[in-house]
């Protein structure tokens, strides 16, 4: 048996691959649920109810999907260029930090200007956070995987310092948290009495923008060529450093926007537990979508559903909500195999 590159991939395979990998992750979860002494069926039912069973559940899932969609796009853009940005978590906090600095009274504008300004500032901060890894990769030959991973820890400590020092809310009664975003900067709720906020538009807009960019632009073509064979792309005249710079700015910017949306839309103020690992889950979102921007939207909603559902199942049945992360990890690993079969076919020798 050997693997052989396909001449073309049938469309149903690209849909089947994520579906099968989701099935595998459900199987994995069933084993753990059975171990916990619950019926897998009841557990999944409770999970589905918690994620999609009511209007409230759906709005919860969708609001969880917003940051995942943005960090998923961040990973998708970067991974297409084989620029392994594992630092979306840190860039998210940079975005949130920028929004906090600007949005807690430093300037006041009408919401129509204030909200875009916060997103812009957050995106800029997130993008800047990737400049060092970009520089080290393209000029000094230091692998970006380790630098982006390590920067996550550094940035989180910086945020921790800011929250206990310069940005600390004097009214917080000792908790390390920043002051609230002023009303002009808060993203309006889309449905009254729900947590679903206008950040959803930002996420959808970003997905559409990235899709157009990757599919139709010179930049998108360059990114794909560079990702698939950097040497040949460079030889043919595609400038790697410049292209990767744009990749870094866009990828970091998207992750930064996720931070803005969480601070200005969901929480209202910056704390150290703003993100339960959205940056890392974003990688799973992107992989399940085969790095396709529109697919990212779907897979973000799906993984958000798993995590919201797992929370509610955890409360109902006493199964630790870490099961959501286990499912995500299993899905990522199995989709890798699925995507392999999209590109290769098995041949007998």
């Amino acid at each position: 048996m050997r693997l052989e590159l396909r001449e073309s991939t049938p469309w149903w395979l690209t849909v089947l691959a994520p579906l099968v990998s989701i099935l595998v992750s459900l199987l994995m979860a069933s084993v753990l649920i059975l171990w916990a002494g619950e019926s897998a069926f009841a557990a999944f039912q409770s999970m589905f109810k918690g994620a999609f069973g009511s209007t409230f559940a759906i709005t919860e899932t969708l609001s969880r999907a917003i940051p995942l969609c943005l960090t998923g796009l961040a990973a998708a853009v970067a991974f297409r260029a084989r620029f392994y940005n594992i630092g979306a978590e840190g860039q998210l906090y940079c975005g949130a930090l920028a929004a906090t600095i600007l949005g807690t009274g430093w300037i006041t504008l009408t919401p129509v200007l204030m909200i875009p300004l916060l997103f812009l500032a957050g995106a800029a901060a997130g993008g800047l956070a990737l400049l060092l890894p970009w520089f080290l990769k393209t000029r000094v030959n230091v692998d970006e995987v380790v630098t982006t991973l390590l920067l996550n820890f550094i940035i989180l400590l910086l945020v921790g310092y800011a929250l206990e020092g310069p940005l600390k809310d004097p009214m917080s009664m000792g908790w390390p948290q920043a002051a609230s975003i002023i009303d002009e900067g808060v993203l309006p709720a889309l449905i009254p009495r729900s947590r679903l906020h206008a950040g959803a538009f930002a996420a959808l807009l970003a997905a559409f923008f990235v899709w157009v960019l990757l599919r139709y632009s010179v930049f998108g073509f360059s990114v794909r060529a560079l990702g698939l064979n950097p040497e040949a792309a460079r030889h043919a005249g595609i400038p790697p450093a410049r292209t990767l710079l744009l990749v870094a700015l866009i990828s970091g910017g998207l992750a930064g926007m996720a931070g803005v949306s969480e601070v200005a839309g969901l929480k209202g103020y910056l704390t150290l537990d703003l993100s339960p690992g959205f940056g890392y889950t974003g990688i799973a979102v992107a992989m399940l979508a085969n790095l396709h921007p529109i697919g990212v939207v779907v897979s973000a909603i799906f993984l958000a559903g798993i995590s919201v559902g797992a929370d509610s199942m955890g409360r109902a049945l006493g199964i630790p909500s870490y099961i959501a992360d286990i499912m995500v990890a299993t899905a990522v690993l199995s989709v890798l195999i699925g995507l392999m079969f999209c590109r290769y076919r098995l041949r007998r020798n």
Partner: protein, 504 residues
């Protein structure tokens, strides 16, 4: 001569899908004999060797080594039976020492200790018997190509190999090194070894082998004692029909399109510069050839000229004006085409379609891009269809991934992409490596046509025959330096070889 048969391959066949790679191939090798196995790329030589070594399973047929049957065997069994091979691309780990490389696989994998001292002593004896001195403790990357080949041979001898197979052993050697190698082989044959040489260099084959076996399209089409055949007969047997390589008619040199002046490039660690004060002119309407044993700086020079590598000192002149090192994109704009040495890693993006690969260096330019921004798929496909026809690229459609093309067709794709723009200058680095005769003739014709149109061509090649046939002037590269240009018409292969070895 001892008449004992050491290897007997009979009626071996192997099919891959519709393609018959080997069909009823029979071959016998006698003790102390040197056989030359000849054939074009794709004639079935590699498949046959892979079957012999147990990498592939034959569909039918049998193999006997020293009278013992070898079937359904693993590569290990082949080694056990005393067969050893020196591959064209050496299978050495460059960052490890010679001793490490030789000892690999000679001791039980799970042994808690490695008898390095004993091995060292034994190797010393073998090496001095065969006249193959190599420094056991040097790293392989510090060795010349010729020395690496000796390591490979020593590796085989250390394993008590009694049948040695050499795949294109002379491809990377200077004529003088070839002489040394042949002396060595003759000495080893006298010691009882039997040898199969796989080659396409007829002259050399005639001087070393006792017998020749010719493969074509997977079958044995000829077998003869070397004394009874001449070069022309062999050439015809190999190709079947007569393929004439086109010959270039000399032209008058035009203006200098490109010059390098006193250019140096330093390596990261080595004390010797990779390019040492190199000056070079590429005039229009001329093919300037660069000869040299591989590893003497040709790759670095090609990298510099294709904008992939910065220079540490010296300057670039384009059309007589000093410029800073151009980027690959700028070179394309200037009308400078580049045909890279390694098609797979530098030439194409294997997983992209043909039409995408055909526009790789035209990114942003109309008609395939609207306003330099958005992709015009229809225009890109139409242009690609045209190029596929014009350059006779055999493919199922322009939607197929480039990785699935054969070597010759992949090279035609790269040429199509580069020549479609009617470039003023072409850097062709090993443009025919690994191609069959038909494809070589096609590539040569395209290069000559471009030159006759007025383009300046810089041809880097290890194939001296190609060089002398095409080039107007030859520059010899040795240890990072370039010689003065020599007119090609009164250069002999012999003289070129001496210069390539560094003695003038």
């Amino acid at each position: 001569m001892n008449e004992q048969v050491v290897l007997e391959i009979s009626q071996v066949s192997k099919r891959f899908g519709k393609l018959s790679a080997n069909e009823n191939i029979s071959l016998t090798l006698q003790q102390g004999e040197i056989i030359a196995l000849l054939g074009e790329n794709g004639a079935g030589k590699t498949t046959l060797m892979n079957i012999l070594f147990g990498h592939y399973r034959a569909d039918q047929g049998s193999i006997r080594v020293f009278g013992q049957s070898l079937s359904n065997h693993s590569p290990e069994d082949a080694l056990q039976a005393g067969i050893g091979m020196v591959h064209q691309h050496f299978t050495l780990a460059e960052n490890l020492t010679v001793l490490d490389n030789i000892m690999l696989g000679t001791e039980p994998l799970w042994s808690p200790i490695s008898h390095r001292r004993k091995a060292r002593k034994l190797l010393h004896d073998i090496a001095s018997d065969a006249g193959l001195e190599v420094a056991l403790d040097s790293k392989v990357r510090e060795l010349t190509v010729g020395q690496r080949q000796r390591v490979e041979i020593l590796k085989a001898l250390y394993r008590n190999v009694r049948i040695l197979i050499l795949d294109e052993p002379t491809a990377v050697l200077t004529p003088q090194e070839v002489d040394d190698l042949f002396t060595l082989l003759r000495r080893m044959v006298e010691g009882g070894l039997s040898i199969i040489i796989i080659s396409h260099k007829l002259q050399e084959v005639l001087s070393i082998s006792d017998r020749v076996v010719v493969l074509r399209h997977g079958r044995v089409v000829g077998e003869a004692s070397t004394d009874n055949v001449d070069r022309d007969q062999l050439a015809e047997m190999i190709v079947g029909r007569q393929i004439e390589r086109p010959t270039a008619i000399p032209r008058v040199a035009g203006k200098n399109l490109l010059s390098l002046q006193r250019v140096s490039v330093h390596g990261s660690r080595s004390s010797r510069p990779l390019l040492d004060d190199v000056s070079l002119n590429v005039p229009a309407s001329q093919i300037t050839g660069i000869a040299g044993v591989s590893g003497n700086g040709q790759s670095v020079l090609a990298d510099v000229l294709s904008g992939m590598r910065r220079i540490d000192s010296g300057e670039w002149l384009i059309d007589g004006h000093a410029v800073s090192t151009p980027t690959p994109k700028q070179l394309t704009t200037l009308g400078f085409a580049r045909i890279p040495e390694d098609r797979h890693t530098h030439g194409v993006v294997g997983e992209m379609n043909l039409w995408e690969n055909l526009m790789l260096d035209e990114i942003g330019n109309p008609p395939r891009w609207r306003a330099g921004l958005t992709l015009n798929r229809d225009a890109a496909r139409t242009t690609a269809e045209g190029l596929v026809k014009q350059f006779d690229i055999r493919c199922s459609s322009t939607e197929q991934p480039a990785a699935l093309l054969s070597g010759g067709n992949m090279q035609k794709l790269i040429l199509a992409r580069n020549l479609a723009r009617k470039p003023r200058l072409i850097l062709a680095n090993q443009p025919t490596r690994g191609l069959d005769e038909g494809a070589i003739a096609a590539v040569h014709a395209l290069l000559i046509e471009a030159r006759d149109r007025g383009a300046g061509i810089l041809l880097i090649t290890e194939d001296l025959d190609e060089l002398l046939r095409l080039a107007d002037n030859v520059v010899v590269m040795h240890a990072g330096t370039l010689s003065e240009p020599l007119p090609a018409n009164n250069l002999s292969q012999r003289e070129l070889g001496l210069r390539m070895a560094g003695s003038h």
